[in-house]
């Protein structure tokens, strides 16, 4: 295996890992702050991809589609939090699993009614539709580099939001002691709504960003959800740092698994998960 191929696979793994992080960070935040396990998180990712397809077809502009899509997703997230999830905070995990499973069924069926079951593709914008030379013989699609860059900026933004701002301090406080935060006169309901909307918007954004790089297909939500679960398990529930590290780890295992052991590629990430669980049963960064 030559160096250029390793380089390309590394770039692919980093890009996949960062994208996974956007989805998994929402999942882990929603769990870490509100204690809710959200099976429908993958559906938000899928919804994002279909929004990208539909809105690009309507507006003819992917970036505009993404902006509109993110706003719509955040609003939907806030509405869902208000109507459904806010009733789940004091419930047991089994009820959370059930309700969010019900949501998946609703999302899947609505998607099949509204957009059908075909596989769609979204065009890469013209100004990004070129390849960057890597060394003398290989090239790499510019859109994938663009994706990595955007995800990196968002990851950094998320870090700054949580670690450096007042809202972030409140989110962190809310995750460790809800009652205390409330006593301090902070409106915890709106804080939760904000975190939830943020999580939904991040997942949907990941789906939109990835739409031109791969296809938009019915099974994509489930697939990304289960991989995100693995990320959260490996990283440690509620830890955003853990999610970042675990996303990259899982992405590398998956990408290089496909290169070295193609028949067993589907299992590679679970082997990593099992190994880490043996070593640290509560994930890398227990929060």
């Amino acid at each position: 295996m030559d160096l250029a191929l390793i380089l390309i696979q590394t770039l692919n793994a980093v890009q996949y890992g960062l994208l996974l992080f956007l989805v998994a960070s929402g999942l882990t935040l929603i769990f870490g702050v509100m204690g809710v396990i959200n099976l429908a998180h993958g559906s938000f990712y899928m919804m994002g991809a279909y929004l990208a397809f539909t809105l690009t077809a309507l507006t003819g502009n992917l970036l505009l589609a993404i902006v509109i899509g993110v706003v719509l997703s955040a609003v939907l997230g806030a509405l869902l939090e208000w109507a459904l999830f806010s009733h789940l905070y004091r419930r047991n995990h089994l009820q959370q699993v059930l309700l969010t499973y019900g949501l998946i069924l609703i999302f899947e069926e609505l998607r099949s009614v509204l957009v059908g079951n075909e596989v769609y593709s979204v065009k890469v914008p013209d100004w990004l539709n070129f390849s960057v030379p890597l060394g003398s013989v290989m090239t790499y699609p510019a859109y994938r580099l663009f994706m990595s860059g955007v995800c990196l900026v968002l990851a950094l933004g998320l870090y700054l939001l949580i670690e450096r701002t007042l809202v972030g301090a409140r989110i962190r406080a809310g995750s460790s002691n809800r009652g205390m935060v409330q006593l301090l006169g902070i409106n915890i309901d709106w804080l939760y709504r904000l975190v939830f909307a943020l999580g939904v918007a991040l997942a949907a954004f990941a789906g939109m960003l990835n739409a031109p790089a791969s296809s938009v297909s019915p099974g994509m939500g489930t697939q990304v959800l289960i991989v995100s679960f693995v990320v959260v398990i490996v990283g440690g529930i509620g830890s955003v740092w853990g999610a970042l590290l675990a996303s990259l780890l899982v992405a590398f295992a998956d990408t290089f698994g496909k290169v070295f052991v193609p028949d067993y590629a589907g299992i590679a990430i679970y082997v990593v998960m099992a190994a880490i669980l043996l070593w640290r049963p509560e994930g890398l960064f227990k929060s």
Binding site: I37, V113, I226, F229, I233, D263, A274
Partner: protein, 326 residues
Amino acid sequence: MMSLVTSRSRAAIIAVFLGALAAFPLFGQEFYTELVTRVMILSIFAISLDLLVGYTGLVSFGHAAWFGMGGYVFALLGTKYQLTDSLWLTLPAAMLVTAAAAFLVGLFVLRTRGMFFIMVTLAFAQIFYFFFHDIKALGGSSDGMNLRGKPDTRIGGWVPFELTDPNTLYYFVLVLMAALLLAMALLLRSPLGRALQGIRENEHRMEAIGFPVFRYKLAAFTIAGAFGGLAGYLFAVLNGSVNPEMLSWHQSADVLLMLILGGMGQLWGGPIGAFTFVLLQELLSSYSKLWHLWLGIAIVLIVLFLPGGMFSLFDRVKRLRQGRAA
């Protein structure tokens, strides 16, 4: 509920119920015989999960792994590698293999708790899904496999019964389900069963008074795996085929739903839930192509307004009446 029979009226209800099931194929058409066979197989599946969720307090979201694996053991031994079709070899093999796999997985997943446990069991089930989806030596393909026939019941030259006959298969499954219910009732009264229910109530206290909690949970996980495997084996026999969807997380979610519908931690919760679920499925899908949508909406509404499951409805009505009378 600690025992199968706690009162004379309950015993009567159970006798009537089993009697009705026993008489059912005498009147029904083949379609309905098959339908009820399926319900009873799903009952076995749900009862096996109830040992974990209802009695031990372990919410497994990967129970379909054992269901699918049990079916695949028969498919691989009988059809793919053509080693044997014998019921007397393949059925114990299916249960042994799933028990062994559940034991190994249990070593990992039982180190985790609560939310983690839910996600880790789901992830491990996904591994097995990929096994039977991707690995050619295990019959891996998204279409699965058609079986070459029903299990062979011969003992030497003697044929005690023929599973190719739908009625015989029906009674075979009925006997197994009744045996499992009896076994569960006995298990729950045994020291192991009591310890498991103690773990459900307060794991740390059980640990503190000296119970080897991990070993007990591992025993429950292994037993539940074996009976999940039995259900999958029977399901494969009934359908004459296996496919990876038997191991999918939708299957795991469906069996959890059955338990919720029927009532967790109750001996008859599994059968009642399986019956309700299949009935709902048949009704909704005959009225609307969008039955998943209606099912999803029903689930959301049940969780929001009836968190205790369908059975809490009776309790609520009862309490309401008593409240009025007082």
